[in-house]
Symmetry: C2
Subunit: 564 residues, 2 copies
């Protein structure tokens, strides 16, 4: 009999089926958010060798027994709280990794403290050709002078070290860095800069202002090895915080290649919902439509990220009325309404999801109007994403409601931005426009799906702080008392959904992960705090004990080096 | 228990009896080249459900029986010749597909003949937004005038059609093309061009010289959908010629994305050994080292393609002595010797294979010297590839021998270039330099591994013509009698190896495909001619009856549209 590829693949898939070896997770206080937004409690669940959940057991259900007819592996939750792996609905994976790869000296209290940290950091990263860092301040150290290359050499002599001062107006180099940069006694001092020198003219260690460029240009640009390391570093940092999935907002071709290298080498464990950095990158990577889910649901390019305006702090956010603290500007739009519509059409016509950065009320109004216009052409389940949705004029809330009813709308918001921005936002907007600022409850009320994230590395990718802020609109110090515009707080179900089921829905992933339910991937965390019942202060201090992705443990607080 | 993906897989595997879903191929005259270069004949072979060969049976061996303990599927070779799938050691996959996607009118004998072909081509490609072609010549048609848009409209009215004349100095458009380009009676005639017009001034159909640009700029640039179509088209064309693998020489990021889309969608069947278009593309795609073999050995980026000089025809080939027919030039080098060494080092230090285009004797001399220098630094099995190796000064042959003994060297040559270039090469080189031109036998004698290819689309990717030329150094007409410098002919074993085992070796793929042997992929073809015994004329006319890749049929002459 002749055979076709089709029949061969069918047989091959049967061959690929795992041996019957299931894992039971029990002795847990399990909590997951159901599609209808209610809390589902469970006492145990079973997942198979491919890391897919087979059965979820409610309290009182009869559990399977060990053995061929039951389960072969067992995880004892020791009575702890088990939640679905958390999802950051808006972050930047590679930038997060790169931020973690540099040394932060902002907390150092003395030169010796700094030298010790530098030495430890270099020892912890033997593969790094250069040690790069920032944040030092000799005044804070009570040193009364700049530190020297010789002092830095005593900590790290084998490689160049280049550390920027807290104000970025000076840099501290070791001898290897000066050698790599070719800076000697005969190097002239650049215009607008200064080179601290020894008696014999050789560089002493610190370069000021324009002179920093002499070393900057010798620092090697990131290599693909650096990219691979940055990804692994980001994955590990997210895993220890209980984050098992993320929407990568603005994936470049280079980022994508890095994700694929990890997947091809079977070392990608984070679930990445990639949104291309613009429509050209989208088309180059994914082509005529979204990619399939790759690597057992760990990577997909399903959409595009566009920018409509800038940020509030720099007064780049596009406002309907002038800035309260700078009446001569409304901010700026990065795209005309026609350009925005064309770019969104280009993506939507090929079935890509569209995610648009919109901060100011004018940007959000224009975006919502454009979405409603496009929704007459592009039908079906679109889940238009508004990234940040920071200030939306209450007059535009009905637009949200209409889009929610026709195509769907996701408000992709970052709770911690509210506390970080509060005083700045009040200054920029004045009292009359605050009703529509960070208006989580109102946007949910209007019909938007709330997906929560961190915008990492802009903020730490810590979902526990995010949940605590979502419940209180207070910062770590408890300010302001009672919360800022507390009517926009959300309840604990909405907060947890924002970091699990709703964040998965926002990426068209709700049938794959984001809940503990049959047929979904076994992504889960064990924690020491119940976000449904604990105080916001306690939630903020949550310790993640274990993180599992696809039935594999990627973090264990008792052996943090763990990994896959 | 609830049914899940996992449990359905288990059920399927229970029914599939995977251990015995093998396929026996018998009743064949099987021939494959052994690693030692000798011919191995076989009467049958067995491959498993993953498309991997398990056992090869020599004539007289006892064959397994059908059933649970033997094989489940059977392919009757009907006594025909079975060979390993052929490999093109130097081609351009995407350009080959794009060349096939345009309509070739060079063979048309009349306007009605042309219109019929245009109509059929449009009907065969309903998804093409534009119909693009070339090669028409109204003189050859005996038309005595230019064809008209109205005539073209009668063949294709629903889409723009744009057909360049054989000399590319004129283009023939239909009304839809004029509409798309906005060309009307009021369109001024561009400087240096002409617009054939009707009495009322409307364009009549043909645009001459500079006026062609008016339509050219309206032709949409290729989309990712076009890329996907070009790849599928190239795969189908190669499959019908018996080609199951190819070295893609100069893979761009866009090409790579297209290959991956096909692999991700499980529609890539051609085996592509990708060599990146330069070291930057190499690093962007593959990162710190060659990619793994992807998609069951169907795609890998294992190396980089560099260019050291140009081509002989355009006198871009870099020669030691001046051109015989243009004594004021030696041709040109595209890289300095330092640049060449640096680029080769950048690739070699990360374990990438290096393939360098070298045509002229100076280019080949410089390349061989550079390889020998690098081989002191980069040890082990390197298989340095010289692409084309067209003219190598016999004084440099000892370099080939030394490199062969230390790192290994592949002469990646295209037999058909010899017949296409013969007269031109004699003119360019004069009589004294021909000894080192297209010197297949001498380079093999010197120790190089001969890998044969077509440089498709520069030449048709037809390995049968290549084998016939390799045996004769004669063109299709049999010229020159006795063959051109017949001392450089190779025997049939070397010719077949050049398109199978040696071509796989040249891409570090010899343990995966290129032979019929246990553990290798079941890539094979059934043909009507035995290249070991037939005359070169007969080999040239070989018909491929079936082409199989990885145990799946991708071409069947009895149902050419069939395959996957």
């Amino acid at each position: 009999m002749r055979r076709t590829i089709g029949s061969m693949l069918l047989a091959a898939s049967a061959l690929a089926a795992p041996a019957h070896a299931d894992t039971l997770v029990d002795n847990i206080k399990g909590e997951t958010i159901a599609p209808d937004g209610t809390l589902q409690s469970f006492a145990a669940f079973l997942f198979d060798d491919s890391g897919v959940i087979k059965t979820v057991y409610r309290p009182g259900d009869k559990l399977p027994k060990p053995g061929r007819k039951g389960y072969q592996f067992h995880i004892d939750g020791k009575g702890r709280v088990l939640l679905p792996g958390l999802i950051d609905a808006h972050g930047h994976v590679m930038q997060t990794g790169y931020a973690l790869l540099t040394l932060d000296l902002s907390e150092t209290t003395s030169l010796s403290d700094a030298l010790a940290r530098i030495k430890a950091f270099a020892a912890a990263h033997p593969d790094r050709p250069w040690i790069i860092g920032s944040g030092w301040n000799q005044e804070r150290w009570g040193l009364g002078r700049f530190p020297t290359a010789a002092e830095l050499d005593s900590a790290v002599g084998d490689r160049p070290v280049w550390l920027e001062r807290a104000d970025y107006h000076a840099g501290w180099a070791n001898s290897a860095a000066f050698k790599a940069a070719g800076i000697t006694a005969s190097t002239p001092t650049p215009e607008g800069g200064a080179i601290e020198r020894l008696a014999d003219g050789r560089p002493a260690g610190v370069l000021v202002d324009k002179a920093q460029g002499l070393v900057d240009k010798a620092v090697p640009p990131p290599t693909p090895r650096d990219d691979d390391l940055a990804l692994t570093t980001a994955e590990a940092d997210l895993a220890r915080r209980g984050v098992t999935g993320i929407a990568d907002m603005g994936t470049s071709t280079r980022d994508w290649m890095t994700f694929r290298r990890a997947g091809d080498a079977n070392r990608l464990y984070l679930r990445i919902m990639a949104y291309a950095a613009g429509t050209d990158t989208m088309a180059e990577i994914a082509g005529p439509g979204p990619t399939p889910w790759l690597y057992a649901d760990r990577l997909r390019m399903g959409g595009v990220k566009l920018f409509l305006d800038g940020a509030l702090g720099s007064r780049g956010a596009w406002l309907k009325a002038p800035y309260a603290d700078k009446p001569d500007t409304h901010g700026l739009s990065l795209l005309s309404e026609t350009q925005l519509g064309n770019l969104m059409s280009r993506a939507a016509m090929d079935g890509f999801q569209v995610a648009v950065h919109a901060i100011g009320d004018k940007a959000n109004g224009v975006l919502l109007t454009t979405i409603e216009d496009l929704s007459h052409t592009y039908h079906g389940d679109r889940r238009w994403r508004v990234e940040h949705a920071q200030i939306i004029d209450p007059a535009d809330w009905p637009l949200v409601t209409r889009i929610a009813a026709n195509g769907g709308i996701v408000a992709s918001m970052q709770p911690v931005h509210q506390t970080s921005d509060r005083l700045m936002a009040e200054a920029r907007l004045g009292p009359d426009r605050l009703k529509g600022a960070y208006a989580w409850a109102s946007l949910k009320q209007a019909g938007a799906v709330l997906a929560f994230g961190s915008d990492t590395p802009v903020e730490l990718p810590d979902p526990w702080t995010g949940i605590a802020v979502a419940l209180t609109r207070q910062d770590a110090s408890g300010a302001p008392a009672g919360g800022w515009r507390p009517e926009e707080r959300v309840d604990s179900l909405t907060a947890l959904a924002g970091y699990t089921s709703a964040a998965a829905y926002a990426g068209f992933a709700e049938t794959r992960f984001g809940r503990i339910a049959p047929g979904l991937r076994a992504d889960f965390i064990l924690v020491d705090t119940d976000p449904m019942t604990a105080s916001p202060e306690a939630i903020r201090k949550t310790h993640v004990l274990q993180t599992w992705i696809g039935g594999g443990k990627v973090y264990d607080a008792e052996s943090p080096a763990g990994g896959k």
